[in-house]
Amino acid sequence: MRSRPVAGSWLVIDVLAPVKGLGVGSASGLLVAAALAGRAAMRGARVAARLIVGAVALAVLASPSAAAEPETRILILNATDPYLPAYQMIDATMRETLAKDTTRHFAYFSETLDAQRFDWKQYEAEFLALLVKKYKGLRIDVVVAITQPALDFVNDYGRQLWPGARIVFHGIPARARENAALPAHVTGVVTREDVGGTLDLARRLQPDARRILVIAGVADIDQRLADETRKVLAGQVQTAEVEFLLGLSQPELVERIKREAADTIVLYLAESRDRVGRPYTPRELLRAIGAVSPAPIYGIFETYVGQYGIAAGAVESYLDRGRIVAEEVLQMVKGASPAPAIAAIPSRCIADADALRRWSLDEGRLPEGCEIRFAERPFWREYPWQTFGALAVVLFEGALIAVLLVERHRRRAAELELRRRLLEVVHLNRTAAAGVLSASVAHELTQPLGAIQSYAEAAEVYLKADPSNIGRVETILTAIRRDDERAMDIIRRLRGLFRKRTETELQDFDLNDAIRDALDILTPEATKRGVELSVNQSQVALPVRADQMQLQQVVLNLALNGMDAMQSCASGKRKMSIKSAFAGKSKLEVLVSDSGTGIADDKLAHIFEPFYTTKPQGTGLGLSISRAIVEAFGGKIWAENRPGGGATFRFTLPVAKEGAL
């Protein structure tokens, strides 16, 4: 079915959606009428909703009162159960095909003799009487008689019940009609129950089969099929043993089939009634045994194909039958004379890929042109647009992800580069500061060096004296060692200023240590410049997470900047104070205040910008680097003028987590 979608037909598209699943044959009501394919299944609420819409539309279509224009009335007279999946499919296809003739409006009536379940001859008279009453004065154009009893009934009573009606039959084996002459107003479609073709197919698939098991019921149609099979088998040279299981109940059959060998050919004809008179839907019974059978099952009806159905069969397509019946009906309606010839339905080889797999049958053995249903088609062929869409989305997302990854990589590289550059600038800034400080560092260095020289000369004097003063010399040597140590310290500090670093070193430390480091360097500079330096450090530790050397540099920068600002002040008026303290619970603060010239208000906003300088020798980097460093560790830096003159530079840093130190 899925290989032959019927275009432009809402009903077929909806109902015959090629979904394998639960059958709806046992359900009832309009919904079932719409669900024409017995093995058609519904999956998902959307399909169900469409079915309901379809069913309602069908009801409206079928209602005689809905017809405003003269309508073509068609009576469907089924001798069996019209709800059988096969008839639903045929009926739907027929109506579908007829509906294409838009010049006409068709109204449908249906009756059933229920002959497969009941001994219908018992109530034939009453049934006839009922119909006479029902159809009195109602013109019927075409009677579609389904199966032999229905045709017989129409032949007997048609002229009386529906005068002028022409008759189209179907569901009657070709063999039964072979020699029967038909009146002019009767034509039909004969069925070829292709037992022979099906058996051939079975043997192709199972060339080594030792047994053929034939299953059928005891209803008329069942028995007719069984007889047909016997005839076919009798006409062949048998290499396999043949057994018939006729009229067994479902539980018996299920038990029986379970024991069957896997290489047996099971031919399921139809079982509408078992020998105790219990009725069955043949398709449902097939499903029950199909689920448990170790041996492949074959059948002659299209409705048998599907979940737990037959592996393969030479079947007549009900869609074909529905279409051909419709064509005959249309000919009759149009008044073709003589009536069109009796049509036959070609049998098709149909196989179920799932079933073939389940019973380990080789698909390759099927004759050419055999339709294989439920074969797993590549997903992209099944849903080309969805596949294309999904693929496009995946590709797009992939591309997006790739772009983002590249972007991220570039960003990381840029960040690394930025950090490296910052380190380089920081280093430049340090060496510049070291240059500025070199004079005071040199001066500081002369103190211990000069001391050592003087001590050495004093020691010489003591040694040359008569008597020599050895005790004093020893004291002097101790002092010399101490001063030497001090000189080394100064050189170490100087080297620290010049040391080049390639990484920012994050560590937890006391901010006061960084300030102390800076003060070691700043104190001699302050002395040299005649700046009075007062320090007010927090008594408690100020835990911070940053790079100690870089923060030391910030303090150096701010202090040197302040000292520069005091260059023009009278000596004795150059005062600088450095303070550190907690500012609230989560912040630390360092203040560097000077008594210099202060900062013009319009420049306050710019002094932290790179290359912005107010000093003739300034590079304009010290403050901007200080800002970069402070901000890198989550802090803020700003400047303000002091009310009494001079400026205060302030920076804050977040307090490191408790217990960091």
Partner: protein, 219 residues
């Protein structure tokens, strides 16, 4: 080292350098007083013994030149030898102009240091000798009666007896008597010697023509 040895006041904020210089000077036979700041020196009674000051130029608070100025203001006349970390020419010129005896650069050789100190001490000795002479002259002049002092002031300005007599409203004879007396009191033989005393004590500029007899002087 004896009590008679000159005292060297070492003023240096750097404890190790100061201590080393002090040690060296002690070894060379001086008395040493070590001061870590200018303020500390100023708080010390300097006395009249032979002494000099070895002063670091760069110090926090009051630096070397500032201390020098302060001492001069206070009338202390101890010779000063400056020490500096690096030869700062403008600063040394300023210091020498302000009366520094020498200007040394750290680190300093013993010989240079001792030479400078000896020179400074000798200079100091000169100052002290001069001071002593001045003190004698001052005491001699102080013995004069007011009348004799008036005559003295006019005599050293080269006024003739006649004019002095007229100015003081007395006779030439009386003036001659005063002149004899005051020359004896001042232990001089000639008018020229008397003029030298007046000049040394700065009495010439001090009293103007109009105000005769002012006994104050400015140096």
């Amino acid at each position: 080292v004896t009590d008679a040895s000159p005292i060297i006041h070492v003023v240096d904020d750097d404890p190790s350098f100061g201590a080393a210089i002090a040690e060296l000077l002690k070894a060379c036979g001086y008395q040493v007083a070590l001061h870590s700041s200018a303020m500390q020196l100023m708080a010390t009674p300097l006395g009249s013994k032979p002494a000099c000051i070895l002063l670091d130029v760069q110090m926090p608070g009051v630096d070397g030149p500032q201390l020098q100025a302060r001492l001069t203001e206070l009338g202390h006349r101890l010779p000063i030898v400056f020490l500096t970390g690096h030869g700062d020419i403008p600063m040394s010129v300023q210091a020498i102009k302000a009366g520094a005896d020498d200007f040394l650069t750290k680190p300093v050789r013993k010989e240079k240091l001792l030479q400078a100190i000896e020179r400074a001490l000798a200079h100091g000795e000169q100052i002290r000798a001069q001071d002593r002479r001045m003190a004698v002259m001052r005491s001699l002049v102080a013995q004069l009666t007011p009348r004799e002092r008036d005559v003295f002031d006019l005599l050293v300005r080269g006024k003739p007896h006649k004019q002095i007599a007229y100015a003081l409203g007395t006779t030439e004879r009386t003036i001659k008597m005063h002149r004899h007396n005051l020359m004896q009191k001042c232990r001089v033989q000639s008018l020229a010697d008397l003029s030298v005393i007046a000049e040394r004590l700065g009495l010439l500029q001090a009293s103007s023509d109009a105000t005769l007899g002012g006994s104050d002087y400015r140096s």
